[in-house]
């Protein structure tokens, strides 16, 4: 590793490729393979229309990851706040320029291109918070005004996404942001106080939820009352997963019977397929690989030599974790349906790209981890 005095020795391309954190990339590939197998089954034993595309997307994303990893983290440092502001503006504009898809306005159409600003924000928020704490000196981390500023950085995107309405992504931002604050060393007393405030504000929040979000929470407690609506997904999903038993019904078996009742099984409810066909054993196997990936990322984070790098990696890992947790909890009926995919397994291009981009940021920070970023080399914003 380079010396702690912040040498900016440039590495050659070959050296960079050598230093790349291949284990974590391979692990991601294994997870994507799981996904491909499941999608093959969902399509009734065919690579079309999902499995093949899923694999291709992953390969392209992997290329993106490697490319991003080559870039020095200083670049991400400089881009962090601008990207955040850009994403913020776009999120704010969604109600005016947005397109409706599936009853929610989340996309901005730019001619042929359309993309979700919230996806950009997922990366930008992590980068911005990491950047923020890089700049903030240690003794300031615990001071109220800086804590409040961090909360504000998180809160604005949360509010904007809740308006769309996108409960799942809003929740993601909140949880990832809070975990980054925690990892940055914010004193625990703020978390205790914050929890208290949240509990107190709960009635207000509930009254501001969109009608269909409130119904989701309501149906959560009585899923049978809406068997053809969102309570349907959960009840059928639970039945399907449950019928898988310990060892599952076997490959491509589940989709012919119980799973026929589960909609969206190639996206949010892909775990249902795995649960029914591979049983508890299959589920554990997938979780094990996820845990491995998170562990590897954790090691990367601890190894890094600057706050920015550490938090960037940890933030990406947190994003991954929150996705996994919410999706599994949702599909098994622990948490109301909020529309969050299972990372790298669910079919869906945008979320895979975002996740992999996050991995790319992390790998970039890890690869160049030897270079500490000096605080006096940079101003507060750029």
């Amino acid at each position: 590793m380079a010396s702690a005095f912040g040498s900016s020795r440039h590495l050659s391309l070959g050296e960079k490729l050598w230093r790349l954190n291949w284990p974590v990339l391979v692990t991601a590939a294994v997870i994507a393979a799981f996904g491909m197998v499941a999608l093959y089954s969902v399509a009734g034993g065919s690579f079309q229309p999902w499995a093949e595309r899923h694999a291709l997307r992953f390969l392209l994303s992997a290329g993106l990851v490697i490319a991003m990893a080559m870039v020095r983290p200083q670049a991400w440092l400089k881009l962090a706040f601008p990207a955040y502001l850009l994403a913020l503006v776009m999120l704010a504009l969604v109600p005016y320029f947005g397109l409706h898809a599936m009853g929610a306005k989340r996309w901005i159409g730019l001619g042929a291109l359309s993309f979700q600003p919230s996806e950009l924000m997922k990366l930008a928020l992590v980068a911005a918070l990491a950047r923020y704490y890089q700049w903030l000196s240690l003794e300031r981390v615990g001071q109220p005004r800086w804590v409040l500023l961090a909360v504000a950085i998180i809160a604005v995107p949360v509010v904007l996404t809740l308006r769309q309405p996108d409960l799942g992504t809003g929740l993601l931002f909140a949880l990832v942001g809070l975990s980054m604050m925690f990892l940055a060393g914010t004193p625990l007393i703020y978390f205790a106080g914050g929890l208290g405030a949240v509990l107190a504000a709960m009635p207000l929040v509930l009254s501001h939820l969109h009608d269909y979000q409130r119904r989701r929470v309501d149906i959560f407690f009585n899923p049978e009352k809406d068997p053809f609506g969102s309570g349907y997904h959960i009840t059928q999903s639970k039945i399907a997963i449950g019928s898988g038993g310990a060892w599952g019904k076997g490959f491509v078996q589940g989709t012919q019977s119980q799973l026929d009742f589960v909609p969206e099984k190639h996206t949010d409810f892909i775990l249902t397929v795995i649960g029914e066909e591979w049983g508890f054993a299959g589920f554990l196997a997938l979780m094990a690989v996820y845990v491995l990936m998170l562990a590897l990322m954790l090691i990367m984070a601890v190894r890094a030599r600057s706050t920015f790098a550490r938090l960037l990696i940890a933030g990406s890992a947190s994003t991954l974790f929150v996705y996994i947790f919410i999706n599994v909890a949702m599909v098994t009926g622990l948490v109301p349906v909020v529309g969050v995919p299972l990372p790298l397994v669910s079919y869906g291009g945008t979320s895979m790209i975002t996740l992999m981009a996050g991995l790319g940021l992390a790998m970039s920070a890890d690869l160049h981890g030897g270079e500490a970023i000096r605080r006096d080399e940079m101003g507060p914003f750029l």
């Binding site: 990892l183 009840t235 019928s243 038993g245 019977s257 649960g275 601890v302």
Partner: protein, 616 residues
């Protein structure tokens, strides 16, 4: 530099510590998830264990039984009749066409119906069910179940069809139920079930939520052909509430039959003491039991209840309001005599009474009984619009009552507004139009309330739906002095019973109770002034009659409005006669008719023509 290094190391240490905690939390969360999956897949799997290979679990919503609509004695106005249906589930059916062919041997279907079913089977969600036919006989049901192996995805069930024992006579009150249009959004999943209807008008629509109840569910294991193998779990549906109305179905039926003989009309009857709406009939009506296909052809007009949804100019009935306003503000006393000579100049405008030769000297009661235009024009000028509005409101006009029917209109009272000037620069004078009741609008319900308030001296409010629990305290007294009301009532009694009375047709036969009442109508093209806000477009030219009975101790108040069909201008006798018949029905239905002895010298029971009065 060193500071920075030390700080950096400290930051690193902190991070590592926190990261360890974060990792532990994640591990805990994974443990929770694993535990949940374990619960679902290992522990609870036993519950689903005997599941055969191709069997699956199906979740079905159970429709709740709709609440009934009852009258004041508990007689049923809207009920649920059991009907057998045959239902198809495309997901379990396989070849829909073949299955339908087998089914047609038992239940004949038209080619259009069959085609439509096949089409819907391919479009709808695969697990939604389609009602193939309803109203099956028990034999048909038995045959279908016998042929079950040849009819995959087909099942029979019992459902309810809404029935209306009173049919068209109560349709304006009950309303009817129909299917939701697919374009209409719904938050209640029950409405997506096959055969579930929702209220479209009347009480059915207004109290939909109470009538509907809550759905139940059943979780069953079904085999590959969609036939139920066993029941796993269920939740009882909660039946809708029965709604009791103040309506008396016997009265409603009789009044409707009488009304039906007229071309087009509305009739509202109120109990003066409680405000209970005893009957609310309108003609022409429609048959609420008509099947869904016909229901689509109901026009918008049939969907509203005319008793609250149509406004009419009250015509001369408005003179009651004028009288109350003038008496209350002291602009006139009951005994003051004003002479009607047939024409008069009111501030530059020459006005003519309907009786061109003039009524001669009149006190208030006589003026009301003779419906003298000039007398009341004088009163309007003396009293002013503001006091008129106040009196009108106190008598129940220009407001809604929220009695439980949709589309209730509030009516209107005359307003102060800047008036256009005519060629001579004089302000257009509205007083005459106001006096003739042309500048106001009221629904039949409001006319009935006005009658009840005058009759009782209390601020009676209408009550259609009887709510459970103790009724609130009775209506408060009207803010009108007793002498004023006495004078008005005297006028109303005189209008029906006096010599040469205008409304003599409303009189009941000799020996029966005395009726007090008044007619109001809009003669065509006569002194017709638009009632502002373009309202004249919606108010119809009609004949109204209000009455209460018995005159001395009022029990019932009635308001009847007749609209002429075609171009005939019928004399006021029609509406008055109609009201008389209605009152007759009312009195016959109740307990012994409390007769009143005719007062001395009163020639009640005589009708006569007024000299100079020609069919107006």
């Amino acid at each position: 530099m060193f500071e920075q290094d030390k700080e950096e190391q400290e930051a690193h240490r902190r991070f590592t510590r926190r990261a360890a905690i974060w990792a532990a939390a994640q591990a805990g969360a994974f443990g929770l998830l694993a535990g949940r999956l374990f619960q679902l897949q290992v522990l609870e799997n036993k519950r689903y264990a005997p599941l055969a290979e191709e069997n699956r679990i199906s979740l079905q919503l159970l429709a709740p039984k709709r609440g009934r609509i009852l009258d004041r004695h508990g007689a049923v106005l809207a009920d649920n009749a059991e009907t057998f249906r045959v239902v198809l589930s495309p997901a379990s059916t396989g070849d829909v066409r073949k299955t339908l062919q087998v089914l047609q041997k038992i239940v004949p279907l038209t080619p259009e119906t069959a085609a439509s079913i096949i089409k819907r089977a391919s479009h709808r969600g695969r697990h939604a069910s389609i009602v193939v036919a309803s109203g099956l006989t028990f034999e048909q049901v038995a045959q279908i179940n016998l042929l079950a192996p040849q009819l995959p995805g087909v099942r029979t069930d019992v459902s309810w069809r809404r029935s209306y024992p009173l049919g068209p006579s109560a349709a304006a009150v009950t309303g009817f139920t129909g299917f939701l249009d697919r374009s209409e959004a719904t938050t209640d999943p029950v409405l997506r079930l096959p055969g579930v209807k929702t209220g479209r008008s009347g009480i059915e629509a207004a109290l939909e939520r109470e009538l509907r109840g809550e759905s139940g569910f059943e979780k069953v294991e079904i085999d590959a052909r969609g036939h139920v193998v066993r029941m796993l779990d269920w939740g009882e549906p909660k039946a809708g509430q029965d709604i009791a109305l103040a309506i008396d179905s016997g009265l409603q039926k009789q009044i409707y039959s009488r009304l039906e003989r007229e071309a087009r009309g509305v009739c509202v009857v109120i109990d003066v003491g409680s405000g209970d709406v005893l009957a609310m009939a309108s003609a022409p009506s429609f048959n609420p039991s008509a099947e869904a296909e016909e229901a689509a052809s109901f026009n918008a007009e049939q969907l509203l209840s005319p008793a609250v949804g149509r406004e009419y100019t009250p015509g001369s009935i408005f003179k009651i309001v004028t009288a109350v306003a003038a008496l209350r503000t002291g602009r006139i006393t009951a005994g003051e005599i004003i002479e009607c000579s047939g024409t008069h100049d009111f501030g530059g405008h020459t006005r003519t009474c309907w009786k061109i030769s003039g009524h001669g000297p009149l006190d208030l009661a006589q003026a009301l009984a003779n419906s003298c235009d000039l007398y009341f024009c004088e009163l309007v000028q003396r009293t002013g619009v503001e006091a008129l509005r106040q009196a009108g409101r106190d008598l129940g006009l220009e407001r809604t009552y929220e009695i439980g029917l949709a589309g209730e209109l509030p009516g209107a009272l005359p307003q102060e507004r800047t008036r256009p000037r005519d060629a001579a620069g004089r302000e257009e004078d509205k007083a005459f139009a106001i006096a003739l009741g042309q500048d106001a609008a009221a629904t039949p319900l409001q006319l009935a309330i006005l009658t009840a308030r005058v009759a009782s001296g209390r601020a009676v409010s209408p009550r259609l739906v009887r709510l459970s629990g103790t009724p609130a305290a009775g209506p408060s007294a009207l803010a009108v002095p007793a002498e004023a009301l006495d004078a008005v009532r005297e006028g109303l009694v005189l209008a029906v019973n006096g010599v040469g009375s205008l409304a003599g047709d409303a009189m009941l036969e000799k020996g029966r109770s005395r009726v007090a009442g008044m007619a109001g109508w809009t003669p065509r093209d006569q002194n017709r002034a638009p009632a502002g806000d373009g309202r004249s477009d919606t108010t119809a030219a009609a004949k109204a009659f209000i009455a209460y009975v018995p005159a001395g101790a009022p029990r019932f108040a009635a308001a009847c409005v007749l609209e002429p069909s075609g171009d005939t201008v019928s004399p006021a006798g029609n509406a008055a006669a109609l009201t008389r018949d209605v009152l007759d029905i009312l009195l016959n239905a109740g307990p012994a008719d409390p007769h009143e002895a005719a007062p001395q010298g009163d020639t009640a029971g005589q009708t006569g023509t007024i000299p100079g009065w020609e069919g107006r």
